[in-house]
Symmetry: C2
Subunit: 244 residues, 2 copies
DNA sequence: CAGTGGTCTAGACCACGGG
DNA sequence: CCGTGGTCTAGACCACTGG
């Protein structure tokens, strides 16, 4: 039934996810682990691994002695903050058509606070990139990305900067982005943001921002990103559970 | 070496966590899975299960072909939003001594929006409870909890309401809180909050709030909670990763 | 090449929930 | 009681990394 690579577990997982999305399971009840193992021709452990991942994602839940079920509540959750997801995907999952605009690219002498975050010396320069993400043409997320000039190993075009950072970094800096450490910070929208995000409610307006330090696989900080969200259009919603 | 119950996996996990906290592993390198399995007298799968959970929590990371390591970066992260944690614990992990004050308890005729969230009829009443959490005596989190009167099966004292909701619900309502669906919303602090949280910066001040609908194990909404955070004292910081 | 983590199997027993 | 998910084992092979 399945090949190897991607792993059996991963194939079983996406197979089940598809059937869940197509609402193929009556009353949200998923067949038992033993039965699925027989049907799909894999061991029960493989089924369990796939179930575990789906459970972590919130797609299903299990009740000992009863069965495994589709988690309908999860359909309301469009965001999984623990995972890095391109903003285009986030926008699409909220039901809009995403697009990106490169607003501004400039080199800057580094500021002390940034130097501290990225372990840089005070003389260095960074590339500061401002992008704007739109949902159905409406601006919803504004981002600033700060990349130390020193890391850039190959010449690039502005168009290259329009791609997500996690694509730019390996290609032009020989760095792989492993994770962000993210601070969630509420702010009062400054004038330039009111304009950029076309905020219409009368000021002051509160906004969510993410302040993120991106780290490579050696746990060294390689970049900083700050994002501002229009929370009226893109609601950050998540599921919080006991224990898992 | 270990008894059953709690599960071997859980015991191995906390055993390792302790050794990690005590910095017993040189250069953050954790012994190989096979070696740990022999040392602790359990199967390699059990070690792997424990490792997986620690990896999800961000405590360790693994590199295929290399080894398993302590994740130092994780020490900066005090919050795991995906999990429900008592605010007292959150405050303690930020290095303060927590305390709670019950500010106000009142019964209210239900508002239309709340009725919709909790699947209530318009005639019903809810118990509205305001609490204030303090860190070293300073107010840092203000919460409102809304509980349908109808659910409360036993008489209670105000003191009972000072305990976390997930303790009150099973005891007085025969309900178990399974998860929250949480919206993260930035707001401008209204006057009562400026006073309650003793905000000193000149207004307007931006604040983070959580709007949460608590669900029981049958996925029915049973309560609503709104929390307001002083983000200057309690920073919401999290680790965002690729894929896991 | 040797050693590490990643995947998978087959089989065993336990704990829980419902009829 | 039976069927469910929860835990655990022993052993196999693969994929990757570093010397």
């Amino acid at each position: 039934m399945f090949r190897r690579n991607p792993s059996l577990t991963e194939q079983v997982k996406s197979h089940l996810k598809e059937r869940i999305i197509n609402a193929e399971f009556e009353e949200g009840r998923i067949p038992s682990e033993t039965r699925l193992a027989n049907e799909l021709g894999v061991s029960r452990n493989t089924i369990r691994d796939a179930f575990s991942r789906l459970e972590i994602e919130g797609v299903i839940f299990r009740k000992q002695g009863v069965g495994t079920f589709v988690n309908e509540a999860n359909l309301l959750v469009k965001t999984r903050l623990e995972e890095i997801v391109p903003y285009e995907t986030l926008i699409r999952e909220h039901g809009y058509t995403p697009s990106v605009a490169l607003v501004e690219v400039e080199e800057r002498r580094i500021e002390p606070e940034l130097a501290r975050c990225l372990n840089l010396k005070s003389g260095e320069t960074v590339l500061a990139v401002q992008k704007l993400f739109l949902a159905d043409g409406q601006p919803v997320i504004a981002t600033w990305t700060y990349l130390p000039k020193r890391l850039i190993k190959r010449p690039y075009l502005d168009a290259d900067l329009q791609a997500p950072v996690y694509q730019f970094l390996p290609e032009f800096c020989r760095q792989t982005l492993a994770y962000y450490l993210t601070d969630i910070v509420p702010i009062i929208a400054p004038a330039w943001l009111v304009e950029r995000l076309a905020l219409r409610s009368k000021p002051p307006t509160a906004l969510l921002s993410f302040e993120e330090i991106g780290h490579n696989q050696d746990h060294e900080p390689v970049m900083k990103a700050v994002s501002y969200f229009r929370d009226d259009l893109l609601r950050l919603r998540l599921m919080r559970r006991y224990s898992l």
